[in-house]
């Protein structure tokens, strides 16, 4: 039932249903709110019924849901809209039964309860997670334009404030052998998902996270405990983490060999391609927007790099002939979504909007042609090429370009 067609009787029932009555009566749209008392506070809040951002899945199995990037502003992704990717569904883990085992090349094989993990010195960091398959639809576009939104092309990236204990702290606690080079992270989902992580990443800024945006992790993000590897392809940040085995070599799991490897034009495939290179994307305007008249508006988007901070985002409105610097919202954090903005006066002309990110290593987000040259048209992961939006004279917006 669409909200605009809610019957009066339905409105009355909903209005008297207490916390269940979250749906604002359609008649309230015409109500003078200064002449009637509003409802009292609730134990758990909810979005305005006028706002309905939602994740989206593209397969019946729903093994991935995509964040509605075009509906969000700022850099933090609301936890209930953070993208999902799982290989065996979302397990229901009882935090009282939960424990993390660390063993292998360590002095003291140890089991930690959730309460014990929380007793260690903690830290909170705001970082993105992006699936390395994100953007495949845009990379492989076979038509000149497409009706694809930022959510549909690139919705497998999200940013949260993550809270937990540094993995390095736990590794020191159990006494890792100086000969150790890798560790295996294993989840307790039905896939018992595993990835090998080099000790250099584990001892850098890796987090054993139990918090997300101030509350416990959402089940889809690994409740009660996940690995969080800043800047690294999302698959390696193993969720529902139950075991870490320290070793002197990688384990060559299915997810790091048959999947999540990047075929290259020279007939090889890149393995352990952990870091997400710099990328940006205009989220406004974008499909399915239709510009509602000439005049000033703001071009907005997100930029991020797995190698550190974004130092510059340039925007072009003429398909890459001329570029101008967008402003970056503070704070600009390393390995984190960064919001960029540029005021733009649309005069009704056809336009091609593009954004191009540069990170603190000097890496510049490549054009589609540049990335295709380096990786080939049928490579599988890490699609950080420049995105293009075609604005037609009637104001309609479509995704443009692709490798094909």
């Amino acid at each position: 039932m669409k909200s605009s067609r809610i019957s009066r009787r339905h409105v009355l029932v909903a209005g008297s249903a207490g916390v269940a009555g979250l749906a604002l009566p359609a008649s309230a749209q015409n109500q003078d709110t200064t002449k009637v008392q509003g409802p009292p506070g609730r134990d758990v809040g909810a979005r305005s019924p006028f706002e309905k951002p939602a994740r989206m899945a593209f397969s019946p199995a729903r093994t991935a849901t995509f964040t509605p990037l075009q509906d969000l502003d700022g850099i933090i992704t609301p936890a209930d809209l953070h993208f999902e990717r799982h290989h065996g569904g979302v397990p229901a883990v009882d935090p009282q039964q939960y424990s993390l085992l660390i063993h292998g090349m360590v002095d003291r094989p140890t089991i930690f309860t959730l309460a014990e993990l929380k007793r260690f010195p903690g830290t909170s960091i705001i970082r993105f997670i992006e699936c390395s398959g994100n953007g495949g639809r845009a990379y492989r576009l076979t038509t000149p334009t497409a009706d694809l939104s930022p959510q549909q092309t690139d919705g497998l990236t999200s940013t949260s404030e993550w809270t937990g204990v540094r993995l390095a702290t736990l590794l020191r606690e159990v006494g890792v052998s100086p000969k150790a080079r890798w560790l295996l992270a294993e989840g307790m989902d039905a896939a018992v998902m595993t990835r090998s992580i080099p000790m250099s990443i584990a001892n850098d800024d890796a987090l054993i996270a139990y918090g997300q945006n101030g509350e416990a992790l959402r089940p889809e993000q690994g409740y009660p405990v996940r690995l969080m590897l800043p800047g690294v392809e999302g698959n390696a940040s193993v969720k529902w983490l139950r075991r870490i085995e320290v070793a002197d070599q990688p384990f060559m799991t299915r997810e790091e060999t048959s999947k999540y490897t990047d075929p290259l034009p020279d007939g090889t495939a890149r393995i352990f391609s952990f870091v997400m290179d710099a990328k940006s994307l205009i989220t406004e305007p974008s499909f399915p927007d239709r510009l509602d008249g000439h005049g000033w508006r703001e071009i907005r988007g997100l930029a991020w790099s797995g190698r550190g901070k974004i130092v510059r985002v340039e925007v072009s409105i003429d398909g890459g002939k001329q570029w101008q610097n967008a402003s970056l919202d503070e704070p600009v954090l390393p390995k984190c979504h960064t919001r960029f903005r540029l005021p733009w006066e649309w005069k009704g002309q056809e336009a091609v909007l593009m954004s191009r990110a540069t990170d603190e290593t000097g890496y510049v987000q490549p054009t589609t042609a540049e990335l295709v040259k380096a990786r080939g048209p049928n490579t599988q992961y890490h699609f950080n090429n420049i995105r293009e939006w075609l604005i037609a004279a009637d104001g309609t917006v479509k995704l443009k370009g692709g490798a094909a």
């Binding site: 089991i111 260690f120 020191r172 295996l184 299915r254 060999t257 495939a269 190698r307 550190g308």
Partner: protein, 195 residues
Amino acid sequence: MRFSGFAGFVGFVCLGGSLIGFGVSVAAQAPAPAHYGLGRAATPDEIKARDIDARPDGHGLPPGKGSVREGAPIYAAKCAGCHGAKGEGASADRLAGRNSGDSFAYAMDPKLVRTVGSYWPYATTLFDYTSRAMPFPRPGTLTADETYALVAYILFLNDVVKEDAVMDAASLPKVVMPAHDKFVLDNRTGGKTVK
């Protein structure tokens, strides 16, 4: 300077970082201990219960064995429904098949098949993954013998082992996959070059 009562408390709070100017010493944060002493020792049985991985060097492969012939009926009963009668793929990934000349031009040619025999670099990965995550409706329910047999059969479907092959903890790590030498380490380092 002396504070007393509530006024003193307020003064203390408000002065905050400039206490040193009043001659009040602030102790530095104690250095982190070598160990926090949290958690408890894991017993060998507890480790064994979770330590299910198998590595290319054979580490973690359990006792047991299975042959191609034993694997065929298990495959038909537990795998074929999703992966096809001969591993040709159905609702789940294609498992079997090689590309002409074992081409690995995946980046250029979308028609190449991605199968165990054409793309997977290590045979032990097949054991590890099948053991932990398959069959999809009942993951983790195969015995070690069943898993060895299935691995043998799937390798046979890919022309990687012969029909009389038997897989166990000694033989499986010795299987050399066609794609074994096709993988290269990540050479991206940031900076100006797109790789």
